[in-house]
């Protein structure tokens, strides 16, 4: 019981805080239900003429993919760094090949103008 004491205290504090937040939210939610003009996005005082849902070209997308590729490469480099000293030049060459293949991908993306921001 003594082991669980601090946990029980923390848990009851959390529950009490949650209930307090819920109660205050219920009070404001009951008092103020937004009217239709209050709910629309504000663009300067005129009602919107079209629905705000719009698909557009996310131009950072190829860059995000490239970032992910190199992020994963770092994941492989951590275990490699651990065994690098014991494996010696073989590990060096293997990692060189791995990075060279990835660099080909970068060159391809470069040619496809994935790095042109505007």
């Amino acid at each position: 019981m003594t082991d669980l004491g601090p946990l029980a205290v923390a848990f009851s504090v959390m529950v009490a805080a949650l209930l307090a937040v819920l109660a205050s939210w219920l009070r404001t939610a009951r008092n103020a239900r937004a009217t239709a003009p209050e709910r629309v996005p504000f663009t300067g005082g005129r009602p919107p003429s079209a629905h705000a849902w719009s698909r557009y070209h996310a131009r950072y997308y190829p860059m995000a993919l490239l970032f992910l590729a190199f992020d994963m490469e770092m994941v492989f480099m951590y275990p490699w760094a651990v065994v690098f000293v014991s494996e010696g030049i073989v590990a060096m060459v293997e990692m060189g090949m791995f990075i060279a293949i990835l660099l080909l991908g970068v060159l391809y993306a470069w040619r496809e103008r994935a790095f042109d921001w505007t």
């Binding site: 239709a36 209050e38 919107p48 629905h51 719009s54």
Partner: protein, 428 residues
Amino acid sequence: MTSVFHRMAAAADAPVFALAGAGMRWAVQDLLLADGITLVDSPRAASILLVAGELGPRLGEAAARVHDALPHPRATVLWASAPDGLAGAGAERIGPDADPVAATRAVFRDLVLGGRPSEPALLPDVDPATWRGVGPYGQGGSGMTGGTPYGRPMAELGPDRDGLRLDVLPTRLGPFFAPLPAGLELDLRVSGDVVVEARVTGSEVGTSEAAGGSAFVRALTQPQSIADLEMARARAHLRWAAEALRLQGLRAISLRALELARTIAPGDSAAVGRFATAVQRTGVYRWSLPNVDDRRRSLLADARLGPVSRACGGVDDERLADPAYIALGFAPITDVGDGVAAVWRARFGEASQSVDLASRAGSAVTTVTGTTESPRGRIALGDAPTARALEFVPALVEGLEWGDALATIAALDLDLDEMAALAGVTAA
């Protein structure tokens, strides 16, 4: 404990969204320097709606819409104002000579401490249409959501700059969209953040009587002191700088511009020079301000839009036609570089020049009436530079990204008050 929190909230700065009516643009701008209130750029972030001056009949409904966009608890302060749309709001009314800061603080304090009820919505709680699809229970239909949500059609498809077919979204901005002057309404079609098409659909605020006349408008009919005119010009440029810098998110230096506009004295062109250097050091010229391509430059060069035209290669300045200015050795500032940054440099150069001219002008007065050079360009009876600039706005912003489009519009220094005042001069 609740009351402790309430008292702390009441002691904080009051977040205010201000609607600047006719002739009140600069009075509202001065509130940026006031202690105890914060001017915010969206009614969603405000507790108090401050309506300054008359808005005219066309903007009444829009003002009510802004009022309803404020979150609860909210209150309205009408400063020398009685707009149609806000008649039922139970607002606090103060006269033109009252202190708006003190009144706003008092209303905010009452509102937070519970002494003043939050104002109810002004517009009726009805959607423009029900959301109804094609199915028997209102479900389904074509498009992403099915049907027409609340009577608002979905965006149409159109080609974008990357060769894809994606949505082109119609967007209405204004009349109280913070980055634009109050009263200006734009209908845009945007593809992502690129403006595909732009149209100016409204540019009136208040009436021409309420807009009043600046020294430049008075100079059209009777001789004016050159020293006064040039100080007014320098102040106008510095106030424009405060707005443009605020739009770029540079709050501290924007306040410095405003402070300088209020305190600048004739002959103190060194202070303007130091300020211009400080603006250059922010890096805003290199990082934020867009280029102006040759097509747009040639549009603006001969439009007699003052510093804007002179930054685009034009040489016109009405002051060159006035012997009194020639006697002072006046020569317009040209050749200030490229792009929107050139417009900024032209305005700072001109502000500095005007402060210098004002100190040397003595009691000289203008000798030419009928046309004169305002800070925005050539003005004449019934001919305002803002009206001419508005015709260029679609051609200037189409094809630009949103931030560049706003910076370009801001560089034009649109002044709807001056436009209204000049329209009034013709009628008289």
